[in-house]
Symmetry: C2
Subunit: 143 residues, 2 copies
């Protein structure tokens, strides 16, 4: 099997990205540990190996890796506060590119019983609200 170093060089080559030392270290910092990583934790980890790295480089490359499908962004929402007056339980459809939000009035695509069974013990799902991510018509037409 190839070394982690070689694996990353391969991936970078496939994406047309220069395989810099910084990218190598950032990528490995995320891949090394399962779970969800904040920029803060990645930056802290990466600085142990490359103390001179810039925070901007971490941001730039995490975004780049997400764009190229090497990493996944956990919650690809708009980061700004949105509010609504419709209190009737309903779900949302969110475009991962333009962050547009549409209502999904009908909810029968969710099997609440199965969901409750799969959730960890103690997690309160008495009013489970669901968001589904995809690409809106306009964005999927572009790509």
């Amino acid at each position: 099997m190839a070394s982690a170093h070689e694996q990353f060089r391969n991936l970078a080559w496939k994406c047309g990205l220069a395989a810099t030392h910084q990218r190598q270290v950032i990528y490995e910092a995320v891949i090394a540990t399962p779970g969800h990583h904040s920029v803060e934790t990645v930056y802290a980890e990466v600085r142990r190996r490359t103390p001179s790295i810039s925070l901007a480089t971490v941001y730039n490359n995490l975004r780049l890796f997400v764009e190229h499908g090497l990493l996944r962004e956990v919650s690809p929402h708009s980061s700004m506060l949105l509010v609504e007056g419709n209190l009737a339980p309903h779900h949302h459809l969110i475009c991962t590119r333009c962050k547009a939000v549409q209502d999904l009035e009908v909810a029968d695509f969710v099997n609440v019983k199965k969901l409750a069974r799969q959730a960890p013990r103690g997690f309160d799902l008495s009013q489970p609200l669901v968001e589904v991510f995809g690409l809106c018509r306009r964005c999927s037409a572009k790509s």
Copy 2:
């Protein structure tokens, strides 16, 4: 039926909130139009009736209304970038209070066929990713 003014005074009284003119106008700006409202649009609308209102008051009261259940926050997730290396399709369980994210490996609580039928035409759901909101064990124990 009571006037919109009286309706709001009733709701505010039930929550123990002072029924100020600003709160009245903010609440009505959201309620008047169906759909999802950003702070920017609420602020613009509200200033037409009350030009002296402060942006901080809009933020404060939108948060307050959400806390008291008069309004709903559309995507109650952490606003900071989170990234993961696990590219295998899987879903997430998010705590609306502390914003913790957990994986939901099994996905059979989603009926993809029904979902596709209910989504608007042209919406790309070829890899639908789902987030379910609830209260994690720790947070639901507190409340």
